[in-house]
Symmetry: C2
Subunit: 230 residues, 2 copies
DNA sequence: TGAATATGCGAGCAAAAGCTCGCGTTGTCA
DNA sequence: TGACAACGCGAGCTTTTGCTCGCATATTCA
């Protein structure tokens, strides 16, 4: 299993990084898809390794060479399936987003029919739960969205959960006091709750729980809904 | 004003970037301070240029060479006053933080003696106003805190304003309903308000204003304080 | 006015990181 | 079982970028 050595002296030149100044919205040139089982395993190994390295070393500390090394494959193999680093991260982003969304919908849908004062905390708790899917990776990914040009993606979780909240508020206008401006209300709710979630990730579990409880009360107070215990 | 040319062939070696994996908490080796007026102007030009470039091109798009170019000086001059890129950004961070803090205290202190239902919105509005000092730069800086090792700095605005809020809540426990856990309450308030501020930066002015109004109501509802107009 | 000091210059080095390419290896299919 | 394709390899090229260093120019001061 040895490979050859030399490379011809001077292949013209290459564009390399778009340099973020000219952030290309065009993005992924795509690469070939795995056909045999062997290669599918390789791709998985690469993606898993990317997640590990990203979690541990952050975006900048993550190099394609390192990812390949951790995955136990060579860089060449990596570039056979991902046109560039960005595409690799984007793939990870999509997987992560799917996982979070699954958790969120699983936990929130069943609660939406219940009384408002219960439904709201349930949705909020679902959002918290969704963020418990690999919080470290989420952190890194969340910080790096603008650089991956995938604004529209991790945003996807926010955008979609905002849509859910907006739908909920719109459907039951008589049960709260924000009927005059539902879109803004949804934005306020999701945005502030997500902030609390991100803050609580770095907190000791005890206080994180406190913050989660307060998140519900924050929103209920804002919506003018009488709290269950009051 | 020409300069020389060659450099000796091989000065041993240099460590270069700490690579973010080994993020050094030690940080800035410091450099010499400007003594003549001429050099003070140079330093200002450099910092101003850094702000401009950072605003326009983001952290990654910002290179020391480009900053020097925009400042109208040479890289050599830049490195005479800043040991590295990080130190330059840190300086900018400190300036920005000072400016924001000034605005915040100016607007909030005068309102703290007023009735609670007025004081709270005043403090929140002050926080909004503070973020109007160069929002674009704030955005970039805010995203890059972890990489500049200056967590403790831009965080400073958050930490200090949280202290203000905590003081306010602690001093007037009878006027709100979060006396049982003031630290968490302060965290919840500052964190969610800041999230709304950051969200509103990207919004059209009309909706940004709506969000700002809602921010006050969010907090007042959470604290269980009767709103002025209700 | 001349030495000493401060300031400024900018070509270019060295390290890091993304990525390619020619070839060896494994799997598939007739 | 042989041929063809999919897969895997990894040395090393190329670009980028932070940063240095020897020297020129400006300022200060006795």
């Amino acid at each position: 299993m040895r490979a050859s050595t030399r490379v011809q002296p001077k292949p013209p030149s290459r564009p390399r990084k778009p340099s973020s100044r000219t952030a290309s919205p065009a993005a992924a040139p795509a690469r070939k898809a795995p056909r045999q089982i062997r290669s599918r395993a390789t791709v998985d190994a690469i993606v898993d390794a990317a997640a590990r390295v990203l979690r541990q070393d952050g975006y900048d500390g993550t190099t394609t060479n390192r990812v390949a090394e951790v995955a136990g494959v060579s860089v060449g193999s990596l570039y056979q399936y991902f046109p560039n680093k960005e595409a690799l991260v984007r793939e990870l982003l999509e997987r992560h987003d799917r996982a979070m969304w699954t958790v969120f919908t699983d936990q929130s849908t069943c609660a939406i029919g219940r009384p408002f004062a219960e439904a709201v905390p349930a949705v909020i708790d679902a959002l918290f739960a969704a963020h418990l899917v690999d919080p470290q990776l989420h952190q890194v990914l969340h910080q790096q969205i603008p650089r991956v040009g995938a604004l529209a993606l991790l945003h996807a979780t926010s955008v979609r959960s905002r849509a859910v909240v907006e739908g909920l508020l719109q459907a039951r206008t008589e049960e709260h006091q924000r009927g005059d401006d539902v879109p803004t209300a949804a934005l306020v709710v999701v945005e502030s709750v997500e902030a609390l979630i991100h803050a609580s990730i770095a907190l000791p579990p005890a206080q994180a729980n406190a913050v989660q409880r307060h998140a519900s009360e924050l929103v209920l107070g804002y919506l003018g809904v009488a709290r269950p215990g009051t």
